[in-house]
Amino acid sequence: MAALTEEQTLIRDQAEAWVRDEFPVTKFRAMRDSKAAGAIMGDAWQGMVEMGWTGILVPEAHGGSDLGYLTFGLVLEALGKNLTASPLLASALVGASALRLAGSEAQQAAVLPGVVDGSIILSLAVDEGARHNPAQTACTATAQGDGFVLKGEKRFVLEGMSATHFIVPARTAGAPGEEAGLTLFLVAADAAGLSRTGLSLVDSRGYADVTLDNVAVGADAVLGEVDGAFPVLDAVLDRARAGLSAEMMGTAGQAFTMLVDYLKTREQFGRVIGSFQALGHRAAQMFTDQQLARSCAEAALASIDNDAPASTVAEMASLAKARVGDHLHLVSRELIQMHGGIGMTDEYDAGFYLKRARALEATYGNQAFHRERYASLLGY
């Protein structure tokens, strides 16, 4: 872990204790088994609001603490460990970032206090196909009177059932595939013409497909510049990717802890299996990989806090998402393999980590997407 301030250490320790004591994986299991609509773990959300996590990225003027992305990452890492399901990342990181980067002072004042007190839940509805590709946005926003009419489909929207408002990139000009011509809109979930359908994915989180069937919005729904949203959308997504990498480090970290614990206790052939050198070396390589991946995740968060140029943040975010994604993939697969048969059973938690790993990998661009982006950013 990076060299932390006293305040950061306090927040991390609090988050880790809360997750450990209040939200063991049994709570995730219970939520999954109940198939709760929106897939928010009951009392988790209120607890997060109370601890002030929803305000970490919100300016003090709007009721937040403005502590920055590395701090937010510490909380997300703790939550990732026991798979705590909530709209924290979608609303208080991605949504709040969009408002701060693109919203006017009035828009921020109208929305951010609600994000902090948990009454507003934001979600960025960006993907339209099964694979992440913001430039391919086809959803249209046609000018009508003072405002716009939105038409299109947004797929696999994170926390789509629990969101009270969506941030919707839509095309005011240009054609799918072009970066120019996009505009961001803030759309209430209960707007006329908006409908949503919950989806059941392997990780049991609250995804939804959102249909915009001629949804009329006013001019004040536009976040930032008309036609020129791509750079700010990309910046918001890079913050999302960096934050997600921190959550993924938590998920991978817990999986690795479970794996090492098992190696220390499971006996086969009259020996604890961790004493088999082939397994020990694989564990050592995973640990080395973990250290490298952690550095990438932290560097991405820090680059945002340090106001690094957008291109640097983009490089770091893609590096983190790809490198941590590979790490999580490795560890979650080995978690099953080293557990053997027991790891295959639904009774055991290992499968949750494998499933969640793949969903996290796919979100906001998978490893292949970010390796390609990294190469393009470096210019080869």
Binding site: D127, G129, A130, R131, H132, R155, F156, T197, L199, S200, L201, V202, D203, S204, Y207, D209, E267, Q268, F269, G270, R271, F276, A278, L279, R333, I336, Q337, G340, G341, I342, G343, M344, T345, D346, E347, A350, G351, L354, K355, R358, A359, E361, A362, N366, Q367, A368, F369, R371, E372
Partner: protein, 406 residues
């Protein structure tokens, strides 16, 4: 390399072909194989007719002696039968209906069984009417079978079994079970084990299906509470069950090397077409996702190399279904090809490759997800990848014994 087919071979193929034409129920054409057979009423009846017709020929286990329900054919002739049935759009349901009977229990019985045992058990397997399961693993003995704890106490004419087995595939629908049990508690770990056969329909046997990460499964936990196995159903010598099971597992590996399931073979030939559909293609027809494309190519090469190796091993063995040293290599290779393919499928499908249930997803998308998850077991069961590597390094390469005793 050329396969000169003899005149006699051609005649045999022709006779098989006309028999299949006459006997294969047309309603079964291109029906998917499933472990439970066709669920539907009409299809189930057709399947039973088909099973009985095959059994009448001794083709449920064509290489077994006629006396035991087989047809006394060569492995090459058996392959002709498979090919001709496949040509007609069908499959041989007996190996599926018999559970572990045709592939594992039968061959082991032929080798270790007494004449009475063969007469008693083999015809039921060869006809597909008796389904067998195997009680090998236990919760505290996964890769390490020598650590088994289930006891079999000598009660004069029978053994009384007490303990718990796990991963007994199909135990809840099987009629018989072959179980590895401890008959001599004082002996060193693998010396006091025996292999016994017992009927499942008795008060001392209880089964509980196991739910897996991929959902429902054919696997069970099986509990023995004074379960009864006749002395006459002891397979192989007392306290020599380890040798019997080693052989049994070799037959298992041999049957697993074909990389069926979500792995190699026919399906993987169009993997790049699926990839193009989900990930798009460039103006010059290349897969849009260059990074994925590079890994896809490595996978397709590995899959082809695996297929060619299976062919080569078959050619070298000149048609004998010898349980060879190659089994461990092929098991690991098949596993790797199969699991990599599943991972690539999940990746290229994006979110559509992460659906658990619901109408938002096509059935084949949901199937792909379940296959991906289920496929994680391939490197665990039937001797884990690690166990196979131990076997290769020790038995094939002749590297000195590691500290491990497996």
């Amino acid at each position: 390399m050329s396969t000169a087919t003899s005149a006699a071979g051609d005649a045999f193929r022709e006779s098989v072909r006309s028999w299949v034409e006459a006997n294969f129920p047309p309603e079964l054409k291109d029906q998917p194989a499933s472990m439970e057979g066709a669920g539907d009423g009409d299809l189930a009846q057709a399947l039973e007719r088909w099973r009985d017709a095959l059994a009448g020929q001794g083709w449920g286990a064509p290489t077994w002696p006629k006396a035991y329900g087989g047809a006394g054919l060569t492995p090459a002739e058996a392959r002709v039968i498979s090919q001709e049935i496949g040509r007609a759009g069908g499959y041989n349901p007996i190996p599926l209906m018999a559970g572990m009977g045709v592939t594992m229990v039968g061959p082991t019985l032929l080798e270790y069984g007494t004449d009475e045992q063969k007469e008693k058990h083999l015809p039921g397997i060869a006809s597909g009417k008796i389904r067998w399961c195997l009680g090998l693993s236990e919760p505290n003995a996964g890769s390490d079978l020598a650590g088994l704890a289930t006891k079999a106490e000598d009660k004069g004419d029978h053994f009384a079994l007490n303990g718990q087995k796990i991963w007994t595939s199909g135990a809840d629908i099987s009629q018989w079970c072959g179980a590895l049990v401890r008959t001599e508690p004082q002996a060193p770990k693998r010396d006091g084990l025996s292999f016994v056969l017992l009927p499942m329909d008795q008060p001392g046997v209880e089964t509980r299906p196991i739910k897996l990460i991929s959902g429902a499964s054919p696997f069970c936990e099986t509990y023995f509470n004074d379960a009864r196995a006749e002395k006459s159903d002891l397979l192989g010598p007392l306290n020599k069950g380890w040798s019997v099971v080693k052989r049994l597992l070799q037959h298992e590996r041999a049957s697993q090397t074909s990389a069926r399931g979500p792995g190699a073979g026919g399906k993987s030939e169009s993997l790049y077409a699926i990839a193009k559909r989900y990930a798009g293609e460039t103006a010059d027809g290349k897969l849009e996702d260059a990074d994925l494309r590079a890994r896809l190519t490595r996978h397709l090469m590995d899959a082809e190399a695996h297929r060619l190796t299976a062919e080569r091993i078959a050619a070298e063995a000149k048609g004998n279904v010898e349980v060879s040293a190659a089994a461990s290599i092929m098991k690991n290779s098949a596993t790797s090809v199969s699991q990599t393919r599943s991972e690539l499928m999940i990746e290229l499908m994006g979110y559509r490759g992460l659906g658990w249930e619901g109408e938002a997803f096509r059935q084949e998308e949901l199937d792909t997800v379940r296959e991906w998850l289920w496929g994680k077991a391939i490197s665990i069961y039937g001797g884990s990848a690690e166990v196979q590597n131990n076997i290769i390094s020790k038995n094939i390469l002749g590297l000195p014994e590691t500290t491990q005793k497996g």
